[in-house]
Amino acid sequence: MREITLINAVKEAYIEEMERDESVFMVGQDLRGGIFNHTKGLYEQFGDRIVDTPISESGMYGTAFGAAQTGEYRPIVDFMFAGFSMVTFSEVSVTTGQQYFLHGGKTPMPIVITAAMGTGGRLANDHAMSVMGAYLRQPGIKVAFASCPADAKGLMKAAIRENNPVFIPFHMGLQSEVGPVPDGDHVVPLGVADVKREGSDVTVLASGMQTKFSLMAAEKLKGEFSVEVVDPRTLDPFDMPLLLKSLEKTNRLVIVDEDWENSGFASTISARVVEEGFDLLDAPIRRVCFPNMPIPGGYMEPYIMPNADKIEAAIRDVCA
């Protein structure tokens, strides 16, 4: 199977979906020149369907949101860095999530919200923050996150075809990650998790870069502990049946999330597993998250953020 970078896998998804459906367009800042590889050259092919705006996030997002409301357009909004979407929080979170439900279910909102997201590049808080919690918190928005090129392409295609708002960033540190991507119309449905590595002693649930770190920890611990790594791929709606099936085998759970610990994905899944799978657990659930502090820059990020060492420590903890 051919191997391409994650960022190019996303680009393929964009090109294929925009060729397939004329109503798909893209709005953001500096898309034509392309801050990241995945929008470079799109303007040559798609012309005025690639829309650059001033640094006016609420107007930029409103271009997409308003167009989607008319029922004739399927926009992709690119915030460049996920943290910047917080500049227009009421739009991306509150107004987006409530549009369909509060207005009688008559205006499906097929809007994709994307950006680079990820800690570890020493860029400090505004450029590095994981905003998963902000999008998960608001009802009415689906959330997906890829850990490999194949999923990055497949999930993005699914997100563009989805008739509801989807927040689907790509991890900064995984842009150049190379991996196999099937030919043809490769779609990964939303709401389906994936076992990235089979094991029997402990389940590690991790997304984005943390899937990679979890696989590194699992490989390091080979022989000592048999680690099953589960990639949610979609954080909301989350594939709980797959996780419970994994826990039937392993009975121990570590949840890794690059987002802040407070009120994040890891907390929600922990609570749900206790409610829905209490009898499956032989040990308390451990969460490995970013500590509740603004993300420091300098040389501090790599050892403060979740990483393979912290994941290994958590595995040892639940397996003790």
Binding site: D48, V51, T53, P54, S56, E57, S58, G59, M60, Y61, G62, T63, A64, F65, G66, A67, A68, Q69, T70, G71, E72, Y73, P75, T88, S90, E91, V94, T95, Q99, Y100, F101, L102, H103, G104, G105, K106, T107, P108, M109, P139, G140, K142, N163, N164
Partner: protein, 327 residues
């Protein structure tokens, strides 16, 4: 640019209808028969009626919240009985009873409401972008009050609309008050439309009590936009006779608005002025005016009867959960 007799009659009829709906909403709120809150529109209905009577099918709109956008619903021939049902929490409400007071008639280009003042500025850019791209001469009508233009997103919308020459109408119904906030304190210039200069956008300042002047402004502004010349800022100087919303004191700053002030404002009541005009110019006879009023009352009564006959909307939790996402 002068209005035809037909247009003037239509405008007049819509003003009377809107006024009648507003009156019944006011009464209902006062007697506890309305959900949520109500922002009474008496004294302030001419601009919304004018704009939405002149508007065309296919145009996108977000009406200012005075009288909850009923001036727009009436004038754009939206199925207003479903708004009455919505505002009383009934089945058959335009938002399935889920919103308390949101108006939504997407088939008429009214997609949303919001509790956030100025929320409309953001999607108005998108409606304008879509309208331009669609090539069907639609407009994106962005109604707001003096208060709404305090929002940063208003700036972004004006900036982007003018950059791209989008057919967006920035329709500012300036009644000089944002709850208790005096516009003289909250805006550095007397005319909020002076903002438009900063964007190279044409602007007009109109007597918002004069229904026909408002309509002429709408004709001119919409034409400019439909011809692809870009957005227009229309400022309507208007007022309100009641408090911001029923139950909230009627203050300016911390001082009660006086009876004298309100009485003076009532001298230029839009219904009064429009009635005088159509009579003076022989557009309508007194008989015809009486008929229009009676028909309006009947229409409003019939629609309230329909809304009152609907059962209360109380779906189960499961039904609501299933409604969060589109299929």
């Amino acid at each position: 640019m002068s209005l035809t007799k037909e247009q003037m009659i239509k405008l007049y009829r819509n003003l009377i209808r809107a006024h009648e709906y507003d009156t019944t909403m006011y009464r209902r709120m006062m007697s506890g028969r309305l959900i949520g809150f109500y922002h009474p529109g008496e004294g302030a209905m001419a601009p919304g009626v004018a704009a939405h009577t002149i508007m065309r099918d296919g145009d996108y709109t977000f009406p200012h919240h005075r009288a909850h956008g009923m001036a727009a619903m009436v004038s754009r021939e939206m199925d207003i009985k479903r708004y009455l049902a919505e505002h009383t929490g009934k089945q058959g409400g335009c938002c399935e009873g889920r919103s308390s007071f949101h108006g939504s008639f997407p088939e008429k280009g009214l997609f949303m409401y919001s509790g956030y003042i100025g929320a409309q500025f953001s999607p108005a850019v998108g409606w304008g972008w879509a309208a331009k791209r669609n090539g069907r001469s639609q407009i994106s009508f962005c109604g707001a009050g003096d208060g709404g233009f305090g929002q940063g997103r208003a700036h972004e919308a004006m900036l982007m609309s003018q950059n791209w020459k989008l057919p967006v109408i920035f329709w500012c119904e300036n009644n000089g008050l944002a709850i208790y906030g005096d516009a003289a304190e909250m805006h550095p210039t007397e005319d909020i439309s002076s903002l438009a200069q900063g964007y190279g956008m044409p602007a007009m300042v109109i007597d918002g009590q004069d229904l026909f002047a408002c309509a002429e402004a709408a004709v001119a502004a919409f034409e400019h936009a439909r011809e692809g010349k870009g957005p227009v800022f229309v400022e309507l100087k208007t007022c309100r006779y009641h408090e911001h919303d029923i139950g909230t004191p009627d203050l300016r700053g911390d001082v009660q608005r006086s009876e004298e002030e309100i009485a003076e404002l009532r001298d230029r009541d839009p219904v009064l002025l429009a009635t005088k005009r159509v009579l003076d110019e022989g557009i309508l006879s007194q008989d015809e005016i009486d008929q229009i009023k009676a028909q309006a009352k009947q229409e409003v009564e019939d629609n309230w009867n329909w809304a009152d006959a609907q059962p209360i909307a109380q779906p189960t939790e499961e039904e609501l959960m299933a409604a969060v996402f589109a299929p």
